[in-house]
């Protein structure tokens, strides 16, 4: 034990506190490392998925069929009127010729069928997209409003299907929030536990040092070092888990991104990200231990 102003001695004291109980250290630092690793993996996954948009399949859509013969209605004005309806986010015009050529590309449609369609042409249509995540009631109200727009013959929309998808989405997002909150709470507790366990403050010792005139910064120093070291080691261990998991998953993620044309953000350089992660964790450990020691000094 030494409380001189020497940083080297304070570091020695901190190491003694940190590594003096190896079994306890392995258990607590290991648990914190897993928490940190899972948190870091989740953050990396979010970062890589950042450019991804809501898949079109999950977006509610309706097909608006225009009435009247070709050339009789102003399609531009109709499209503008559709866009003015609340919750409508996009509208894509599908002309009768375009629809016919799309049908022609389908191999299983016989030439006879196409021949029948030509004298009885398809109507002009708009594929209307609604705001992603909008409530089913709001979309059904918008659909009713779309039906009232001039020159709209009919609107095709499947309310039941979207209601189911929306419910599943709501359930998924709430579960995600719950999981994220649980992970965040576990992370905070793990970090605080690790930082304060080895920087464990002995109030008697701190009061005595205060009595003897030790400067507060010097009294805190071994605790701050111990907090920083313990979280640095836990973070390093956690980052090893991140590297291992990333190496295992990366080929599959890359293949999936290629197969589904997903615009994923490029993978982070793991070495530099790891250095930043460990230094950040050490800083947090030092701050937590310093706060604990400061509270003990104030008594």
């Amino acid at each position: 034990m030494n409380y001189t102003a020497s940083r080297a001695l304070a570091l020695g004291e901190a190491l003694r506190r940190t590594l003096g109980r190896p079994v306890e250290f392995v258990l607590v630092a290991g648990a914190t490392a897993v928490l940190l690793g899972v948190g870091a993996l989740a953050a990396l996954a979010l970062w890589r998925a950042g450019p991804l948009d809501v898949p079109s399949a999950a977006r509610p859509q309706a097909l608006v069929l225009a009435g009247g013969a070709q050339g009789e209605i102003d399609l531009g004005a109709l499209q503008a009127a559709l866009r003015r309806v609340a919750t409508v986010a996009s509208s894509e015009f599908v002309g009768r010729d375009a629809a016919l050529s799309q049908l022609a590309q389908r191999k299983n449609l016989s030439s006879l069928g196409l021949a029948e369609l030509r004298p009885n042409p398809l109507p002009d249509a708009f594929v209307v997209g609604f705001t992603a995540g909008a409530a089913p009631e709001a979309i059904e109200a918008a659909v009713a409003e779309l039906r009232k727009v001039k020159n709209v013959e009919s609107v095709e929309y499947q309310p039941e299907l979207y209601r189911r998808i929306w419910l599943l989405g709501q359930l998924g997002s709430r579960l995600g929030v719950l999981l994220a909150a649980a992970l965040a709470a576990a992370l905070v507790i793990g970090v605080a536990l690790t930082a304060t366990l080895w920087g464990r403050v002995d109030p008697e010792e701190i009061r005595l040092l205060d009595l003897l005139g030790a400067e507060p910064a010097i009294v805190r120093r071994p605790y701050v070092y111990a907090g920083a070291i313990s979280l640095l080691l836990a973070a390093a261990l956690g980052w090893l888990l991140v590297v291992a998991a990333s190496s295992w998953l990366e080929p599959w993620v890359s293949a999936a991104a290629l197969q589904f044309a997903l615009p994923l953000a490029p993978a982070l350089p793991l070495v530099w990200a790891g250095v930043a992660f460990c230094l950040g964790a050490a800083l947090v450990g030092a701050l937590v231990a310093s706060a604990a020691a400061r509270m003990a000094i104030r008594g």
């Binding site: 034990m1 008697e204 009061r207 040092l209 003897l212 005139g213 507060p216």
Partner: protein
């Protein structure tokens, strides 16, 4: 050291100290006497800068204690030798480590701290060869008091603030400690020692004649 109208109150309870005026010169030996809860310990804590007065001013060497920054107060405390009630020892640490803690805090090297600790323990009459490496938890209350006293004396401070200084000491040990304090005082160290008035086994006659007494009752100075 000057105290002007010093007061200390803790919440709504009766004040611990009321309107205390006091001047203590360098090298003076002041005995603060009073029954339990008369304000002796509070006075010593205020003088050590461990608490701030609710009213009035305490000046040490011309400096207002209340206006000092924590770092300056810590620096000031390193020039004091403080004996808190009960000794305040680290139970699992050895006798030598407990005493050497004070020089280490003051910046002494490891060996220098140990050397000074041995000398201070000799001064208070504790056998270093026998007890030096023993944990403080294994000592008797009288021996613990000697260790705490040695820690207060070890840095040769300019001011000694000793609470319940003769507590748990037998007459021989008490006489020895009084002799040491007299030597320190004669060498220019200001000594302020709190004593319980109900200690008939250790009469005031044991103290040197030049010692001045301050009697406290219910936080007030009484004649």
């Amino acid at each position: 050291m000057h105290l002007e109208r010093v007061e200390k109150r803790y919440g709504e309870f009766r004040p611990a100290l009321v309107g205390l005026d006091l001047s203590v010169a360098r090298g003076e030996l002041l005995l603060v006497q009073g029954a339990a809860a008369s304000g002796k310990s509070v006075l010593l804590r205020l003088l050590a800068g461990l608490e701030t007065p609710s009213g009035g001013v305490i000046r040490i060497a011309g400096e207002n204690l209340a206006g000092m920054r924590p770092r300056a107060r810590a620096h000031l405390r390193r020039s004091m030798g403080i004996l808190p009630p009960g000794g305040c020892l680290l139970e699992r640490k050895s006798v030598l480590e407990n005493v050497a803690l004070a020089p280490w805090v003051a910046g002494a090297a490891l060996e220098e701290g140990m050397r000074r600790a041995r000398a201070a323990l000799d001064l208070v009459g504790l056998d270093v060869a026998r007890y030096g490496t023993a944990p403080c938890a294994h000592l008797t209350s009288g021996q613990r008091q000697c260790v705490a006293l040695a820690r207060a004396l070890v840095n040769r401070p300019a001011l000694l603030l000793l609470d319940d200084v003769l507590s748990a000491l037998d007459e021989t040990s008490a006489a020895r400690i009084i002799g040491v304090l007299d030597q320190f005082s004669a060498a220019g160290v200001t000594v302020i020692a709190a004593l319980r008035s109900a200690a008939p086994s250790l009469p005031m006659a044991m103290w040197p004649a030049r010692a001045r007494a301050l009697r406290l009752a219910d936080g007030r100075s009484v004649a």
